[in-house]
């Protein structure tokens, strides 16, 4: 049903007027949310969008290029520390600081891409895992970055201090709009990358790197590029994340975070933009909101507390949240390998071919 007749049809941002209409509605909704949602949700949405940026970037690497990374918390940390450090120590304006930090992350991504030329599967996973942990400990050992005690993020000033222009974003709502705009730009950017020659090379490498090389895809360039692009996204996400929090320490970017990022991509759907977005939304919401407050959910909460008292230890309910995320991951892999995006495709197919 999604048959493309020419290239230009394929690269269209909105495939039909229906898609255009609903995209407009979605954008309108996103831009007006702060008018009616309580403030707490704005904070949650900020974190969700940061994770969306990261998951979309990670999906370019994991889903589209077929390389694994368990070290994305490292790039995330480079983005966060880089941005905060450049702004507070060298008075670099925000817009430049976050992009410089993201390019530093991309450079490290390129470095991590080099061993990926030789390594695959579990071996690459180990290398990237080591990378993430190393970054965390190196930052923790350096006093200029606040060591293990963490650093306070400077005020989010969109102006340029050197020119005397200052525009400080203080509230969550202001930050929401900044992050929303960045998210939209980066998501559209990711989609465009995947529709170009570069993106198609990524997919070719995923399907078979030998075949890709035979048809003229330069593996050295495109594999390292995939790492660099993905790290760039993580760097931008990290830079924004720092301002959402206001304060962070190296252990914020631990190994578990890298694993959670991977869970987002797998649960959402590998290799699609929508998959990254859906996964980031679902996992962040579960982890930060639903599973935290499960004891206060009507009926279900009381049931869970009773089960936990009966069968688990004193902190059974809290442990349940980790188990729930693990179960979701296992369930997705067994029943719906395409992730939530796969569910969406099937629903769409069902309605389009109805009543057959």
């Amino acid at each position: 049903m999604d048959m493309k007749r020419d290239y230009y049809e394929d690269i269209q941002l909105f495939k039909s007027n229906v898609v255009l209409f609903w995209s407009a509605v979605l954008l309108l909704a996103l831009f007006t949310i702060p008018l009616y949602a309580p403030n707490y949700y704005i904070y949650l949405l900020n974190i969700i969008m940061v994770h969306v940026i990261l998951a979309v970037g990670l999906n370019i690497l994991v889903g589209s290029t077929g390389q694994i990374s368990l070290g994305h918390a490292g790039f995330f940390a480079i983005g966060a520390y880089g941005t905060a450090f450049l702004m507070s120590m060298f008075q670099v304006p925000f817009v430049f600081a976050i992009f410089i930090a993201a390019f530093i992350a991309a450079f490290f991504g390129f470095i991590l891409g080099l061993p990926a030329l030789r390594l695959e599967g579990p071996y690459l996973a180990i290398v990237s895992l080591g990378f993430g942990l190393t970054i965390m400990h190196i930052i923790g050992g350096m006093d200029v970055f606040g060591g293990r005690m963490g650093i306070k993020v400077p005020p989010l000033d969109l102006g340029i201090k050197q020119l005397g222009i200052s525009w400080v974003l203080k509230t969550d709502i202001q930050k929401y709009y900044l992050i929303l705009i960045m998210t939209i730009l980066l998501v559209v950017g990711a989609r465009n990358i995947l529709k170009t020659r570069v993106g198609r090379s990524f997919v070719a490498i995923r399907d078979s790197d030998i075949a890709a090389e035979v048809i003229g895809v330069n593996l050295t360039i495109y594999k390292t590029l995939a790492f660099a692009v993905s790290a760039f996204y993580a760097g931008i996400a990290g830079g924004l994340f720092g301002f959402v929090l206001g304060f962070f320490d190296p252990f914020t970017f631990n190994m578990i975070l890298s694993v959670i990022f991977l869970v987002m991509v797998v649960v959402g759907g590998l290799g699609t933009i929508q998959g990254g977005i859906l996964g980031a939304i679902l996992i962040t919401y579960l982890q930060y909101d639903f599973l935290k407050n499960i004891a206060e959910v009507p009926y279900l909460g009381a049931l869970m507390v009773a089960i936990s008292k009966q069968w688990f230890t004193t902190v059974g309910l809290e442990n349940f949240s980790s188990m729930a995320i693990g179960l979701i991951m296992i369930g997705i892999i067994i029943f719906e390998p395409l992730g939530m995006f796969g569910v969406w495709i099937r629903m769409k197919k069902y309605w389009m071919t109805w009543p057959f």
Binding site: N39, D172, Q174, F241, Y288, D289, K292, N319
Partner: protein, 398 residues
């Protein structure tokens, strides 16, 4: 030129949206009503710091007792525990959620420095009280944050008191120190040095330890060669275990003295395979089998209400951090407001339950400088060596 128009248009749109958003946000709901007062605490129930999660559950015991006795002036306490996995991002999220959705009157306890720093300014901006952070970070009490009341004795004061004990009571002259290379360890080191300066003595060995180090052989040999009779530890559990085990294998047997962070003897005894016996530590709460009438009351209540919990030092610490708010709420009476409770807290003078004596004034929110000195006896039992002792060298009191 079409592109430039588009770019200009989107730029203006962005500016407009961000300016609209500058409108101030609505205030969060009030933290109490006629029937209940809502109090919250964050703490690691899962993740790397999960053993400290019992602090938050200990506070629950106190609130359960208070509610059983009929509440405070007709209001029950509704208590929320949120797991932050020791991760500041999650702390900020759970605190915002509690404040903005449930409406919280005050927070008590809260394990961790970084986690606390992530929400300190937010709580102050929303005028929410925070009593007894479960970490001795200088930034909590200095400079004074009117809404934040610290209970935990500073590591610097503790280091000074422990050193005095070693020199005066144990008559040991050669003292070495193993300290974690961060604010925690360096604060302790500073206190030790200040005290030694008054005796015109200096440390025979001063060895920093990275918290991730897994091999302390060279450090222990340096200590051994320095001839240290007593070794102070400002470490986290894992390096402390490695230090004791390494020392045992090279036959180095000094008097080990540690900060209160390692005062959970049953745990330390178990993970060191019994080597913890004889270690002296500071402590900020009565020993678990103390006959102090309040301790007896809490211990009995714990057996009855939460039989599944281990009655340990961190569990009862949860009570120490939660006691002041209950006392202040009782003092204020039926006519409740944040300002009234703040006023009550600022008038605390030598208030003591099962922790140190607490004194707060408007200009001084570090509640105490006192610690107990305890020793691990056979079978991980607790022996009190010295009653509550203040630090006569504490500079912040002057």
């Amino acid at each position: 030129m079409k592109f430039r128009n588009k770019a200009l248009f989107s730029f203006i749109a962005v500016l407009a949206v961000l300016s609209i958003a500058s409108v101030t946000q609505a205030a969060p709901p009030v933290g109490f009503d006629d029937n209940e007062i809502r109090i919250g605490q964050w703490g690691p129930q899962t993740g790397p710091a999960a053993p400290w999660g019992s602090v938050a559950r200990g506070s629950k015991l106190l609130f359960d007792i208070v509610n059983e006795e009929g509440g405070i002036h007709g209001r029950k306490i509704k208590y929320f525990i949120r797991d932050d996995m020791y991760n500041p991002a999650q702390t900020a999220a759970v605190v915002k959620e509690l404040v903005e959705r449930q409406g919280i009157f005050a927070f008590v306890g809260g394990v961790g420095s970084a986690t606390g720093m992530a929400v300190k300014d937010y709580l102050a901006a929303n005028k929410i009280l925070w009593i007894g952070p479960a970490a001795a970070d200088k930034d909590f009490a200095f400079p004074v944050d009117p809404y934040l009341f610290a209970v935990y004795p500073l590591y610097k004061d503790e280091g000074s008191i422990l050193t005095k004990y070693i020199v005066d009571k144990l008559k040991m002259k050669k003292i070495g120190i193993l300290y974690q290379n961060d604010a925690y360890g360096k604060d302790g080191l500073e206190g030790v040095k200040d005290r030694l300066a008054t005796y015109k003595m200096s440390l025979v060995a001063e060895i920093p330890v990275e918290p991730t180090e897994k091999d302390l052989a060279s450090q222990i040999l340096r200590l051994k060669n320095s001839g240290a009779e007593a070794v102070l530890m400002y470490l986290t559990p894992t390096p402390a275990v490695i230090a004791l085990k390494t020392a045992a294998t090279v036959g180095f047997k000094p008097q080990w003295v540690s900060s209160n962070t390692l005062s959970d003897y049953p745990l330390m005894f178990k993970i060191t395979g019994g080597l913890w016996e004889g270690v002296i530590t500071g402590a900020f709460g009565e020993i678990p089998d103390s006959m102090n009438p309040l301790m007896v009351k809490y211990r009995e209540a714990a057996k009855r209400l939460t039989p599944e919990e281990r009655w340990g030092i961190f569990y009862s610490a949860g009570i120490v951090f939660a006691d002041p708010i209950v006392e202040a709420l009782k003092k204020v009476g039926r006519n409740l407001s944040t300002e009234a409770v703040m006023k009550a807290l600022n008038s605390f003078k030598n208030y003591q339950t099962i922790g140190p004596k607490i004194t707060w004034t408007e200009k001084q929110h570090q509640g105490t400088d006192s610690v107990l000195i305890q020793k691990c006896g056979p079978g991980a039992s607790y022996i009190t060596l010295q009653d509550w002792t203040t630090n006569d060298l504490a500079t912040w009191k002057k």
